[in-house]
């Protein structure tokens, strides 16, 4: 299953928002997270989002991460040792 984060907005700031989105994702078979259309996110949101999503996937690709967000996503994943769980794919 693919999750398109921009379904929920273009920017994401808080842990509470991450918890709200995670509660709406009803799948334990997530294989792809599409960040197209996501223009900004805070480290707190990303940490909570990926930290929570790990319960619902064993491995997923991160696609369409804009170049501004990419270093932040990498840092958050590295901090939680989640680089192998969420694999950042280069743009096509």
């Amino acid at each position: 299953m693919s999750i398109r984060l921009s379904t929920y907005g273009r920017s994401f700031a808080t842990r509470e928002r991450a918890q709200d989105i995670l509660a709406r994702i009803d799948s334990d078979d997530i294989t792809e997270i599409d960040l197209s259309g996501v223009r900004a996110a805070s480290p707190s949101f990303l940490d909570e989002f990926f930290g929570g999503l790990v319960e619902q996937t064993s491995s997923a690709s991160l696609v369409n991460v804009n170049e501004t967000l990419q270093p932040l996503v990498e840092r958050v994943l590295a901090r939680r040792n989640l680089e192998r769980t969420f694999r950042l794919l280069a743009p096509a």
Binding site: R10, S42, D47
Partner: protein, 268 residues
């Protein structure tokens, strides 16, 4: 000559006493100054003081305060007779007006407004959005999670010219502050200076939850992610400046804040 020291931490007398904020000398108030005063006014109003505000004489200052909607912000918690002046302010671009932050939904809305302003205005380079967004929302997150302020905190952002590093440049100036307990009390550290230094380290948080303590660390990283950027963090009697082109400083300043104020300057 003794340098005057402002103390915005201690209550200025018993509830009901009159507190006067004399802004007559304001000419080009910075975002930090504006946020600092709003925090103090909110805190004293909440504590039951009667407030009197003497507005700036400078028409430039009045127009600037109008564009950042200072009076509207003050009116949410006090009856204010404001002095408004219409007209544009040269070399000044409001990004986010003075905004009260009390809960997570306010932080989400603040972030959405930052993103929308960057998208709509086209005035600022797209690659600045990420750092501006991080600095504003993480600082605002800290207000909600740690300040214990009954009135919350306040945030604003504007584009203006500053003379820094020997040159007049356009900067995005971000200021987020709260009249809360301050970092030292939040972390349980006696010294304001030591508390600030500790708070800027990765993983340091007053919450016991794992994987916290990212906010100030990432804000400092953003402040070092380009030339002529810096972040200043002021809490109680502690004041720290960090940035890509400055040597980290920790110094005494002429003001004891009642709470915590953060400023970030990013050239654009």
């Amino acid at each position: 000559m003794t340098k005057r020291r402002w103390n915005l931490r201690d209550m200025p007398g018993p509830p009901g006493s009159v507190v006067t904020f004399d802004l007559t000398s304001w000419e080009r108030p910075t975002a930090t100054t504006i946020i600092g005063i709003v925090c103090a006014v909110a805190r004293f109003a909440h504590a039951g003081h009667t407030l009197r505000i003497v507005w700036p004489r400078s028409n430039y200052a009045l127009r600037l305060l109008s564009t950042v909607e200072l009076v509207e912000a003050l009116e949410t918690f006090a009856s204010v007779r404001g002095s408004r002046a219409e007209g544009r302010v040269q070399r000044h671009h409001p990004i986010i007006p003075v905004t009260n932050i009390k809960a997570a939904r306010d932080v989400d809305e603040l972030g959405a407004n930052v993103e929308e302003e960057f998208t709509a205005s086209g005035r600022f380079a797209a690659n600045l959005l990420g750092d501006v967004y991080i600095c504003m929302t993480e600082a605002a997150n800290n207000v909600v999670q740690h300040s214990r302020s009954p009135v919350g905190g306040f945030a604003m952002a504007q584009g203006r010219y500053f003379k820094a590093f020997g040159e007049l440049r356009p900067y995005i100036e971000i200021a987020v502050g709260d009249p809360g307990v301050g970092i030292a009390e939040s972390l349980g550290i006696a010294s304001d200076r030591e508390a600030i230094a500790e708070a800027m380290k990765e993983g340091v948080s007053s919450t016991a939850t794992a994987n916290r303590g990212l906010g100030l660390y990432v804000i400092e990283a953003a402040a070092k992610n380009g030339l002529h950027r810096f972040v200043a963090l002021h809490s109680g009697e502690g004041h720290v400046i960090r940035g890509s082109s400055v040597e980290a400083t920790d110094r005494e300043v002429g003001c004891t804040s009642g709470g915590t104020w953060l400023t970030v300057l990013l050239p654009y």
